[in-house]
Symmetry: C2
Subunit: 205 residues, 2 copies
């Protein structure tokens, strides 16, 4: 089984990278599919799931004090259900076979599948440019930078709910790719080759 | 011009990786050659050069106070000459053509050549195992760990003498490779392919 997980800073091009890498390796790439599946399982809207899994969950509790995220987390039944469904969905996708999974803390949740964990990051300037090309119409640079910062902070906090390892810290990944000024397609072949070599010796049989 | 620089934690296998990567790309790999050339230019032993360039240079001055490394550095004529020769040697090697350079802060010194900067790291256990296979006979695990820690700390400090950017911080590299439990040869082809793709779009013409 070859599972590749992609953690990424907002605007780093990680989603595009995951998609192209999966195409190159001829395996599926799961991204928004995960949220869709969780929504089905939970019988609520994708938007609601997105909110629960991507918002700083500390903000969900009025009595937020201290740093015991998981304790607070325990109080919200719906959030617990959603995170549990996320695990179920990710594992069932992994069981289907080789794939690339973008985000969702899949590196932690699928640990037992010995995934190749890649983290994609970039400098502020590059991320800002990439975000402008997306559906961020009407936002000023300042607003966009604020949005980028918030999303990444939420990712960091949310990761702590399910794992000790810090989001974006190099020790928690196998390969970290800086996409500052980089055209994503130019590095896909190399990463695909890297993955092949790595799995030939390391991944789960 | 394709210059690949390899920064690495002691015991991470970075040197082996650099050598194999250069072989795969059919370009030279410079490692100890740099020290040899500096020694020639300065007319002193390689050992002396190694000491000056790899020891925490703060330790060279009895009056070490504060954090102004470069100011203290200015007081030692020999160290200045050696670091200046290091720059001369690295640039003359780069001018010769495509190559891999291990260590020596080449990523900073050769910035104008737009090198692909790779950082190689690993967990303590893996590094300890690799170090044991080297010429570290007679050292206990504890002594080896202390040695590893000291060497990496010196690298970190020395980098600050010539550059602002922190050693080992992901933002300062293009690609970071975690070699924990990894057989170095298994990832060389992928990195070579990555380098080719990267230079096709990014490196200096």
């Amino acid at each position: 089984m070859r599972i590749i997980t992609i953690g990424r800073e907002y605007g780093s091009g990680g989603r595009q990278l995951g998609k192209l890498l999966a195409e190159k390796l001829n395996i599926p790439c799961y991204d928004k599919e995960v949220i869709r599946e969780i929504a089905k399982l939970q019988g609520v809207s994708e938007e609601r799931i997105r909110k629960i899994t991507t918002t700083d969950i500390r903000g969900m509790y009025s009595a937020t004090v201290g740093r015991s995220f998981s304790a607070q987390f325990m109080y919200d039944k719906k959030a617990m259900d959603v995170f549990s469904s996320q695990e179920t969905v990710l594992k069932s996708l992994a069981e289907k076979g080789d794939c690339v999974i973008v985000g969702r803390s899949a590196d932690i949740i699928l640990r037992e599948y010995k995934p190749l964990n890649i983290f994609v990051f970039a400098d502020k300037k590059t991320k800002l440019e990439r975000c402008k090309q997306r559906s961020n119409a009407g936002l000023t640079d300042k607003q966009l930078l604020k949005k980028m910062k918030k999303i990444d902070r939420d990712r960091k906090v949310n990761r702590r709910v399910i794992a000790d390892g810090d989001w974006g810290k190099k020790e928690n990944y196998h390969l970290l790719v800086n996409t500052s000024n980089v055209e994503i397609p130019s590095i896909v072949d190399g990463l695909a080759e890297f993955a092949k070599g790595w799995f030939s010796k390391h991944g789960q049989e």
